[in-house]
Each structure stands twice: as C-alpha cells, then as structure tokens.
C-alpha cells in the first residue's frame, strides 16, 4: 500500500473498538425492565423474526428471574446473544415497541436480551434444556453459521444426531467473522457455539464439503441435509486497476478486524469504500477506527436508495466518514499500488426492475480522488460452486429456492436457510430459518 496510516497505541485501538452499547448493570437492567408495559401479544414479539416472547422475558428480568428470562429467549432463538448485539433493533423489535406510539423511547430490548444471555453464559450455561431420546436419525449440516447452528440445536434437542461441516477453522460464520468489534466480540459467537455443542452437536471444522468431503459421502451418511452455506465474496468491480495492491474485499477486511489483532492490519491513509450497504458501513467505520485519515464511501445512487440502515449511516457520519453519492468508480489508478480512484458523476433516471431509480453516468464528469486503499463492498455473490454438485437443487438468481414453510429445497432431502436462501439478511433471519428448517426436517424424516 502506498501511504500506510500510522499504527495506533493499544489503548487507542481498545478505545476505538470499545462496545457502542455496553452491558447494562443489574440496576439499569431491572429499571429498564420495569419500564416495560408487559403488552399482551406484543408487537415487539411479532416484529422479531424468531418471535421471542419479549415482554415475558423482560418481566422475568424485572422479577430477577434472569435464568427464566434466558430460557424464554433461547426457546425461540439459539443465536440470542449475537442477535441481541447485532440485530437492527430499530427496525425490528424496538421499532415496534408501543412506547414509540406514545412518543417515548422504546424499551432497550436488545440490551435487556444481552443482559439475560450474558448472565447465562457468565454462569457457565446452567442446564435449561434436555435433549429428547435419540430418534435414530441423522442430519448433516453444511456451514456453521447462524442458520446451521440454529438448525443443529433444534434438531439435537429433538433427538437427532447432528453433524455440522464447517470449512473454516473456527465455526460461527459471519457471527464470528463478520460483525464489527464495537458491536460484539467473536468470543460471544464462540459461546453460542459452545451452547449448541452442549446438545451433542458434532462440528467438523476445516471440512469443506465438495473438497474435503464429497457431497455423495455427506448424502450417504445422513437422512437429511441442511444448507447454511451463506454467500460468496464480493463481486468484482470490473474496472481497470482492480488488481492493484491496496484493493481488497470488504468481508476479508472485516474478518481481519474481528480477530482483534488490530496493530497487524494495514490500512491506507485515504480509503475509498465502494458500496453503501451495512457491510460497506462496517468496513468504512472500521478503517476509520484503525487510524485512516479519511474514509470515503462511493455510491452510485443517492442517499434515498442507500441500502444501509439509517443508524448505520449516522454511525459512519459520526465517525467522520465522507459520503460521495451519485458517484461511480471508473478506474483504479496507480503504479503497482493504488494511488487514486477515478470516478464519474451519476444522475438518477427512471426506475429499474428493482424499483429503484437507475443511475446513469453524466458524460465528461470524471474526476480523481487520491486514495491509498479501495475496499469493495458490492454485496456478496450467490451460488457456491459445490451447490451445482447437488442434484435437482433449484436456485433463483443464485439463491437456493426453498418452501418458505418448511425450508425444504427442490431436492427433498435438502433443506436450506439463511443468506444462501434470502440473498443476505440479518443474523436473526438465519436463526429463524434454521429453526423452521429443523421442524421441516423432522416432518420430512418421520412422514
């Protein structure tokens, strides 16, 4: 890289990556829990994709039955800690809180959920659930991300033998590798994995299906298979200079940051992030917090079309990230190393197939921005190679097709959930999918 941002001190890194929403103290949690109206059939519960009985668990915190609160949460969602910390609560449970209707601050549901689950993990996961007697059936799960873990836990409790095949050396998928450290630590994800393993789930790490183990072998071993394989890397920009030193993929960059070895991560003084989704925001704010002088987000549409959540946008702005809307990258310039990004101004034309207004370049409006690093964040490519090895597996736009009620794919022995089926949504959607698929599998196997 051309101009490396100087490394920060240990204290500066710790400060920059400190949790945005620290844990509630006991007093804070009980006070906040007492504020909850204990709605009946509450809107927050309905807004949660996993339908956690939120008002019930909150009332349990208020009575200091924290163990009961943890049980209520986990009964609905095995990925409860990650969800508590990484969920876009503003648009889910907290957005639905009736206090909004009374013009007041919603209940801090995410932080209360975290309080209960932290309590549970801090006390070494006191047993709350009992696995049913073994039913003699076996399920293979491909991918140890939130969808796979959720499906595995649910199946194991029902009495299935469950094996998860995970290509990476540490399980957890994006929960472990893809969430900004100021939201949660990868250690939280590892705790959730321990919980799933405590139900007897066998996680085979470093085992990539289609490479380290054949698809046929997996099919032979199990009565049903769940695909929780997520998505692939960010698509190429398809512009000249993309292979220069200093161009990288957002997820790869974020993965490095989650390892918390911040001083070993190189970041340029001036960084351009291409894209404006939630992942792009994470990459931009993380680059800022690693010590970059200036981080710019390059997005070809306007703010209105930006896929990132409003609070993520606010977070980036508060970090000093600059936004170049209606700007599209045209070339990465440099001699071996990135030196500048040539962009062109855009304007919005009529709506395209996605319903969003189509950006069009404004002729002769090219300009150059001197940068040392370019982070690509154009979403993730769907369709892992090995999926093509599965017979009769129907995909739509690269997404695995499923029956939304059972999560069964077009190949009846295969079920799927999470990003590989929805094209990239929240952890909580993956958790809900995995659980639903488990019940779909149970019905299928014992039909």
């Amino acid at each position: 890289m051309n101009n490396l941002a100087p490394k920060l001190s240990h204290e500066e890194y710790e400060k920059n990556f400190a949790e945005i929403h620290p844990a509630l103290t006991h007093n804070q949690a009980v006070a906040e829990a007492n504020r909850c109206l204990y709605c009946y059939d509450s809107p927050c519960m309905k807004a949660c994709p996993t339908h956690i009985d939120i008002s019930t668990f909150i009332k349990k915190i208020a009575t200091e039955n924290v163990k009961g609160a943890a049980k209520t949460i986990l009964e609905s969602n095995w990925i409860a800690l990650t969800c508590a910390k990484a969920c876009p609560v503003d648009v889910l449970c907290e957005g639905a809180c009736v206090y909004n209707g009374r013009g007041e601050k919603p209940i801090a549901i995410g932080r209360l959920q975290r309080y209960a689950i932290d309590w549970y993990f801090e006390r070494g996961m006191p047993p709350l659930f009992k696995c049913a007697p073994k039913n003699g059936k076996s399920v293979g799960i491909i991918g140890a991300g939130p969808a796979g873990l959720s499906c595995a836990a649910e199946l194991a409790l029902m009495g299935f033998n469950v094996t998860i095949y995970e290509g990476k050396s540490i399980p957890g998928g994006l929960d472990t590798w893809g969430i900004a450290p100021y939201k949660m630590s990868y250690q939280d994800s590892l705790n959730e994995i321990k919980l799933v393993e405590s139900f007897g789930v066998d996680i085979k790490i470093g085992t990539r299906v289609g490479k380290d183990i054949a698809v046929a072998e997996v099919e032979r071993k199990h009565d049903a298979i769940f695909l929780g394989v997520g998505l692939g890397s960010s698509p190429d920009l398809n512009i000249p200079g993309e292979d220069l030193d200093g161009v990288c993929d957002a997820l790869e960059f974020i993965e490095k940051v989650t390892t918390r070895k911040w001083s070993s991560i190189n970041v340029g003084r001036r960084v351009a992030v291409i894209g404006a989704g939630n992942t792009a925001i994470d990459a931009a704010t993380e680059a800022m917090r690693l010590g970059a002088d200036q981080v710019m987000m390059i997005y070809r549409r306007s703010k209105a079309e930006m896929p990132a959540y409003e609070y993520e946008y606010e977070l980036a702005k508060n970090d000093g990230v600059l936004f170049h809307f209606l700007t599209s990258p045209k070339r990465v310039l440099g001699n071996g190393k990135v030196e500048a990004l040539e962009c062109i101004r855009m304007k919005l034309a009529s709506s395209d197939a996605s319903g969003r207004r189509r950006p069009e370049p404004i002729p002769h409006s090219e300009f150059q921005i001197p940068v040392d690093m370019v982070i690509k964040s154009l979403g993730q490519k769907a369709g892992e190679n090995f999926l093509s090895q599965i017979q009769d597996l129907k995909t739509e736009n690269g997404k695995v097709w499923v029956n939304p009620g059972t999560m069964q794919t077009s190949n009846p022995r295969y079920f799927a959930g999470g990003d590989c089926t929805n094209g990239g949504k929240e952890v909580v959607n993956a958790a809900a999918d995995g659980k639903r698929a488990a019940h779909g599998i149970d019905k299928f196997v014992f039909k």
Binding site: N34, L37, C39, D41, S42, P43, V98, G101
Partner: protein
C-alpha cells in the same frame, strides 16, 4: 388571592402542611430547617417514657422499580430525654412564633404521669398537644400507643387526664389497627379532645429475605411487626379520615395523615374532611424541600378552581359518600377506545378477557392488532380504562339518559320479599341489563 392558613382545633398555622410526629421532627435542628423551607407546622417526635431503639429499624417495599412505596418502622418514641426535647421545643417555638409547634406525648397510663408531662409541655409555649395512641409496635407491648387506641375506654380516660389540666388544644392521634375507627374517635371526643389526627401506622410485616429466610428488617436474625406508612397506605387513610369526618358523633377538626406525598394527595384529604395534613414518609424519602411543590401546587390548583381558603374545600367531597345500597343500579357506562391514541399494547384486551367480562376483541387492522370493545357486552366495569397506559385513550362513556335511577334499597321496597333471582332477573331484563 389564596390564603392557605388554617385553624385546626385551635392550632393555627400559615399553611396546612405539618410534619408528622416522626423521625423528621426528632430535633430542633430538623424542625427549624423545615420551617425555614416553609412548613406550616410540626408535631414533635413523641416524647415520654425512657426507651432504647434497635439499630436498624426501617423496612421498605418497592414496586416495579419505584422505591419505597411503603415504609415500615419499629422505631420507638424519642430516645432523647424529655428535658432535652422540651427545651428544644421551647427554643423552636420562640424562633418561629407564626408556625404551629406541637408536642406528641406518650407516657404510662397513670393520671399523675400524664398531668406532669402535660404541664411541663405547656411550659414550652407550644401550640398544642397530640396524644400518641397509635404506635403499633414496641410501645404497645408496654401498654402504650395502639394499646390505648384500640380500647375506646382507655382513649376516653387518658384524654380526660390530659384535657383536665391542659389549657392548649389537644389532638388525639388514632391507630388504624382497629375494626371501626369511629369508636376510638368518639371516645376521644368524649374525653374532651379538640381534634383527631389519623391515621397512625398499620401493623405490617414488610417481607422475608429469600436468602436468609429472616424478616425484613431483621435485627440480628429476629424481627416482628412494625408500623406501615407511605404512599401505599393512602387509600386506607382516606377511608378512615372520611369515616371520622362524616360521623355526627365525632364532629371534630381532623388532621389527616397517611401516605401524603404531593399536594394532590393533600387536596384529597381536605376534600374528605381534613383541615391540616401531616407528612412523614415523603420527607424521609426526599427531604423537607418537597414543601415548595406542596404549597405551590395546592395554591395553583385552588386558584384554578377559584378557591381562596382551605375552609372552602374541607369536607367538600363528603356528601358523595354513601352506602352501596344508595348507589344507582341503572347508571350505565361503557368503555370507548380512541383508536387514534391506541398503541396496541392490548393490556385492555387481556385484562378484560382474563380478569373481567370478555368484552374486547382483537381485530387485525392496518397490520396491527386493534382492540375493539363489543359495546353490547361491556358491563362498564372500567378495568380496561384503569389499565390503559395512554391518557385519554379509553374513556367510560355514560349511556343511560339519567331519567331513571333505582338504588338497591329502593328496589328492595318494590320487589317481593324474600328476594328471588327470578324477580331480580325480571328487573334487569326490563332495563336491558344482561348478566353474562
């Protein structure tokens, strides 16, 4: 211009807010500080027999995060010698001639003992005496406090001993730990009391520690009942104050006590017959400074209502008090939900469904679950109205035209006796009342 000054049984004060005989009136330091901040009067912490307190003496009950909605104590009367208290009372009165300074007394049930302390008390120049017949703990085991208040004959006897020597007004403070508060009040009247103070604290056990299984508060692993006070006791106090106020056999000025924390509470006590109010727990929780809002809030409210003196509101609500048998059985209200204000918490639904008469449905509406009253089935019990967390969202709307009114007592004169369910059903059917 609002004038808050009062005369309660001959005791005058610039405003009706007195500190109750309790820890906040333990010393001249405290009472003088309270007067500086605007309190109208103070009843000194009860003085009398030698006592010794335990170290911890208070227990509190919290509810849904609100601290100290109720406070109990096993503290005894003043644990400082009589002469120290009397000296400080005299000094305080001298410094604050316009405020009501009262001494609360409790000595053993001997005529000479009472004569002696009453005379010594009068020497301080204080404005009045309050007889403590109320403390339900400790002192009662020694035959004082509520042991007196629970036996009307003792009330009369000791009050007589006091009034036969006292030349200053005597208030008698009653215990609520009795089945009918009017009897000790009448007994005090008979003994020559100039006024009644009520209520003292309620017998209570505050709680049990779920780790040690000991009572709260626990004194070296042991405990017992104590006197319960604070916001939680206000409804009990309002009832007892009104009972004494409407009793023609009592007909004495009342100093209202029991859970008064705000000017709103105080106004309710005045409306139910109190001329002054006494406050303790709210001061123990927040300090003397609450007097500012007590005076200001009451003044503003009275101004708004066009009232100029406390006398205009004392007992104003008493005519509303009647027996159940005199209530109009044909008064009909139903609940109405203002859907523009509803936040869909559905607390009205579950309260009605599980706790009342199953008259609310949940109707999916614009992607939300909207509670709707089935008016035909609504019995008008108002439970939904009470649990609704949004002001003005549920209202109880009158549906009868007021033309007909029938009370139970009137009905019993009309219907054949002995009363049958069938006769009652016919009356209900005639008026479109369906019991379900």
């Amino acid at each position: 211009m609002v004038d808050l000054s009062i005369d309660c049984g001959g005791i005058k004060s610039p405003n009706p807010f007195w500190l109750a005989s309790a820890p906040p009136t333990n010393s001249a330091y405290q009472v003088c500080k309270a007067f500086e901040q605007g309190w109208g009067g103070a009843v000194w912490k009860t003085i009398g027999e030698p006592v010794m307190n335990t170290v911890n003496r208070y227990g509190a009950i919290d509810y849904n995060g609100q601290k100290v909605i109720g406070l109990n104590n096993i503290e005894l009367i003043s644990d400082r010698p009589i002469e120290v208290n009397l000296k400080e009372i005299a000094e305080t009165k001298k410094l604050w001639p316009d405020r009501a300074v009262m001494a609360s007394l409790m000595v053993e049930s001997k005529r000479e003992a009472w004569h002696d302390i009453v005379k010594r008390t009068m020497d301080t120049g204080c404005d009045g005496i309050e007889l403590n017949y109320g403390c339900p703990h400790g002192m009662s085991e020694r035959g004082m406090g509520s042991a007196v208040g629970q036996v009307p004959e003792y009330c009369t006897m000791i009050t007589e001993w006091v009034t036969e020597v006292s030349t200053i007004p005597v208030l008698v403070k009653l215990t609520p730990n009795i089945s009918d508060i009017r009897f000790p009040a009448r007994a005090a009247k008979k003994g020559g009391a100039d006024g009644i103070s009520l209520i003292n604290t309620l017998n209570s056990v505050m709680g049990v520690d779920l780790d040690s299984f000991e009572l709260k508060p626990s004194v070296d692993s042991k405990g017992g009942h104590g006197g319960y006070a604070g916001p939680a006791v206000k409804p009990v106090a309002l009832h007892m104050v009104s009972q004494v106020a409407i009793d023609p056999q009592v007909n004495l000025p009342i100093s209202g006590i029991g859970g008064i924390s705000t000017w709103r509470d105080a106004a309710e006590f005045f409306l139910l017959g109190a001329t002054s109010v006494q406050i303790c727990t709210a001061v123990m929780h927040y300090g003397f400074r609450i007097i500012n809002d007590l005076v200001e809030g009451l003044t503003n409210w009275m101004e708004e209502k066009g009232l100029t003196s406390i006398g205009q509101i004392v007992g104003k609500s008493l005519p509303c008090i009647t027996d159940f048998g005199n209530l109009n059985l044909l008064y009909k209200t139903v609940a109405e939900i203002d859907e523009s204000k509803c936040i869909q918490c559905n607390l009205c639904y579950i309260a009605c469904e599980d706790g009342a008469h199953q008259c609310i449905d949940i109707i999916p509406h614009n992607g939300k679950n909207q509670p709707r009253i089935r008016e035909a089935d609504c019995v008008g019990c108002a439970l939904c109205f009470l649990v609704c967390p949004v002001d003005g969202c549920i209202s109880m709307v009158r549906k009868d035209d007021g033309a007909e009114a029938t009370t139970w007592n009137e009905l019993m004169k009309v219907l054949p006796q002995p009363l049958t369910w069938e006769a009652l059903r016919q009356f209900q059917a005639k008026h479109g009342i369906e019991i379900h």
